[in-house]
Amino acid sequence: MIGILDYGMGNLSSIAKVIEYLGVKYRFINSEDIFADCSHLIIPGVGAYEKAINNIASTNYIKHIHDFATSGKPLLGICLGMQLLSDRGFEPKECNGLGLIQGDVVLMNFDGMRIPHVGWNGIEIINNHPILEDVKPSADFYFVHSYYFKPTNKNCIVAQTNYGTNFPSIICNTKKNIVGIQFHPEKSQKQGLKIMDNFVKMTPC
């Protein structure tokens, strides 16, 4: 069963609708006891980093998320959810993230490009990952964000995207069970749905 983290911020219904469309069972995780029932965990996210991490901390979820990550079960962070996987965020001021993939989340200050980075953009695959199986590499995906993930070690980059400068659009941990996606696969139509389908089909690492 897919667990979708409910911490008061995030487009839960959009993600739920996709999971439902794929014919897979899901639950919103709004209490600590639900984590144990889940085979997969999705951390959605729309909004600001600091508020998000504070919400997650206040509900005692951080320990459960860490346990889930260590167990090797598949964990997907989408947009702000991907950014929360980092060590630190700066929106609006410096604060600690989940620390599951090393790096910081900083403002996109790329050569005067307009922010937010909003619209359809492509990806360049750097390291393969099961999440991209049978996904058309020339496809565009829907981005909407003003901050980006700056990794400590570039080995975590699965795919990058260009907006003035290259930035990571898909990242993963060494064990490959934790995936972070900057764009919204649940809003990216056919190829996005394929990514979500690949995620629900991932097995523990």
Binding site: V18, Y21, V46, P116, N121, V144
Partner: protein, 252 residues
């Protein structure tokens, strides 16, 4: 690289889709849920759905259409009409909206934009501005084009950007529904005074109008309605046409 966007606009009146000319003489153009299904199958970039009577009838945005559309459309949905508070926004986001458009409320209580941006993030907050060209001057209107605003276009844009708007949805009342092309001068003017992405609407009649704007301006997205309602144009053909003119459009 970031592609240009084409965004169909659906105007709602009594649960039906309507289209007018210069914000008047609205005609029924069909069932919005059915139309959204068709747009979804044509892989449109986004959809903008505006409840044009909510503000003037002093009621909340039509939720039913949004709810039904979000069940089958896996692309970004922007909804507007009568949004007055962060609670309104929260409810709409929970039903399935990805972004909201705020127009009239931004004049009476601009602090809503700041609150909304801080609560939901700037990327959720689109500020809609309806503009008419009168006596050589760009004049702002609220309440679905019924009430003139005193504030200048420049002041309003700069104010909204400072308060945290994520995008501007610029609606040209003078060109609306005439299908004679966009006002590129207006778009050029606005892109000089703001750094945030602009979605321009009003005037699209054929695909060369789209090419014209994308070649002459830096606009992030073009929104349109009449061109798809009246005639046999559709987003698939629009994309193919733009590709022929080397305009970077979404790869499906």
């Amino acid at each position: 690289m970031l592609k240009k966007r084409l965004i169909p606009v659906l105007l709602l009146r009594n649960g039906r889709m309507v289209k007018g000319v210069q914000f008047d003489n609205y005609r029924d153009t069909g069932d919005p849920i059915y139309a959204s299904r068709v747009y979804n199958s044509q892989y449109v970039d986004e959809l903008i759905i505006i409840d044009i009577d909510a503000t003037n009838e002093n009621r909340k945005t039509n939720r039913f259409v949004l709810s039904e559309v979000s069940k089958e459309c896996f692309m970004p949905l922007t909804i507007g009409g009568g949004i007055n508070s962060t609670n309104d926004i929260r409810e709409l986001l929970l039903i399935g909206a990805d972004k909201v458009v705020i127009n009239t409320a931004a004049y009476s209580h601009p602090e809503l934009i700041l609150d909304a941006a801080n609560t939901f993030g700037s990327q959720c907050i689109v500020v809609g501005i309806d503009i008419a060209l009168e006596n050589g001057k760009y004049t702002l209107y609220k309440n679905s084009g019924k009430i003139k605003c005193d504030i200048s276009l420049q002041d309003h844009i700069m104010n909204m950007e400072k308060l945290g708007a994520g995008e501007f949805f610029i609606n040209n009342i003078s060109e609306d529904g005439k299908m004679q092309g966009y006002d590129t001068e207006l778009i050029k003017y606005i892109q000089k005074i703001t750094n945030i992405p602009i979605i321009a609407c009003g005037g699209a009649g054929n695909f060369m109008h789209l090419v014209d704007v994308f070649k002459k301006t830096n606009v992030s997205a073009l929104a349109m309605a009449s061109i798809f309602h009246f005639g046999d144009n559709n987003p698939i053909r629009a994309r193919a046409h733009l590709k022929n003119y080397n305009i970077q459009i979404k790869n499906v």
